[in-house]
Amino acid sequence: MTTTTEDFVSTLQNLGLGGDWEWKNGSWWKTPEAMDVRAITALLVLLEARFVAISATERPDKEVSLNYQWDVKGQLLSFTTATTAQHIPTIADLCPPADWVERETHEYFAVEFVGRENTKPLMTRAGDPIGINLHKEEVK
């Protein structure tokens, strides 16, 4: 909500989520250069923020941009980071609802979530190809 910008940014800073926040196109956005997804997740879980989603987008350099979305006091926060060699640490052990989201992101974009005990198929079935949403035709 644009009308509460200053108050809300102040609230975020009080919660320990400082930095530059920008309200744009339906969400509060923050794009840190190097983001520790596990540290931010641990903090947000502690604050009783509600995990909403991870939205993946394929990048031209073959990495996958990952947008982590959380609801804090009714406002949507979006943290954007990217995989390194298609790998990123899991948050499913810290935040149980991320389990299904990570599993489908693995199936759609072939992202490996490091630290998971297993990544069982969710939408597909055992033996099906992964990376089904990637725009690369060579993916089998």
């Binding site: 196109n25 339906g26 939205s55 609801d71 979006s78 935040c95 299904w100």
Partner: protein, 362 residues
Amino acid sequence: MSYRIPIGPYHPALEEPYKLELVCDGETVRDAVMHIGFNFRGIEYLAERRNYLQGITLVERVCGICSNVHSLSYCQAVEQLNGSAPPERALYIRVILAELERLHSHFLWAGVAAKLIGFKTIFMACFTLREKVMDALSAISGNRVNYGMNCIGGVNRDILDPQAILNILDEMEHEITRTIIPIFLEDRTVASRCKGVGILTKEQAIAMGAVGPLARASGVPQDIRRSAPYGAYDRFEFSVPVETAGDVQARLVVHALEMVESCRILRQALSTLAEGPFHTPTPVGARYKVPAGTAISRAEAPRGEVLYQITSNGTEIPERVRVRTPTFMNMATVRFTVLGQDLADSPLIQASCDPCYSCTDR
């Protein structure tokens, strides 16, 4: 001795495909594992290969119950990207469609719940009322399920006779308060099947990211219409019913009270329907290019928060369309709600989460 019962994927509790493996000691459920994906259609993949106009039609097919909220969220996200603001009348009509959709979804759910409870008279009463709502939706849009009402920049059809919808609403509200509410809130048979059954605590609801009536029945007062209003919701007075027991009965109560609140919103929207056009002057065509960027739209579907994230690369085809549906978050809670419960209650407990696998699997 523990034993494992596979239920589904055909008709496990509802007429939608999913599979549940219940580990039981005697008649008591000790663990549950959910399997989904039987209705996976690759909607996100398909939406990234169609233009924005075709995308509206596609996402409306994500769900056969809450179809309108998907096209609404999609259009809202595109409108954020292209900076267009739908006219005031369009915002009102969007609210009217959304609340009629909530009513018919809640009637459907209440009817199914009543059938599983064994109270078939209420099942029939709910489905009779649902028909009235669907008649109203049909009168407005020409369709009973996929309404085709939302377009980028407004809605495709006007509401020409709000009074006719108000008349239907009078009859429906009378029946809700006379029949549905007393039965769900006070009836001993309903209470004996639902009270203390399938409890989801507030802490579990928050931890699992539960949304919608399921979360509100566990004491989590979240509703996107209130916390991040969209359309014309900030013009109307309404309450967000919240219960704290977290059991099946609390879910019944929340759904029933939400029906009343939907009627309240509809009455305000229909009687103060803004004058003027119902879409922007230039309709978006097939070759319409959306400015580059990423936008997120959230809406409160009948089952809870729906999220659409659309990334445009400046062409007429979206680069990424992300759809996160409410049941995707809610169904994982079944593992908690069936624990320690009687096996015979598990269909009702599953159904009380108001699941939709068409949405979940996309």
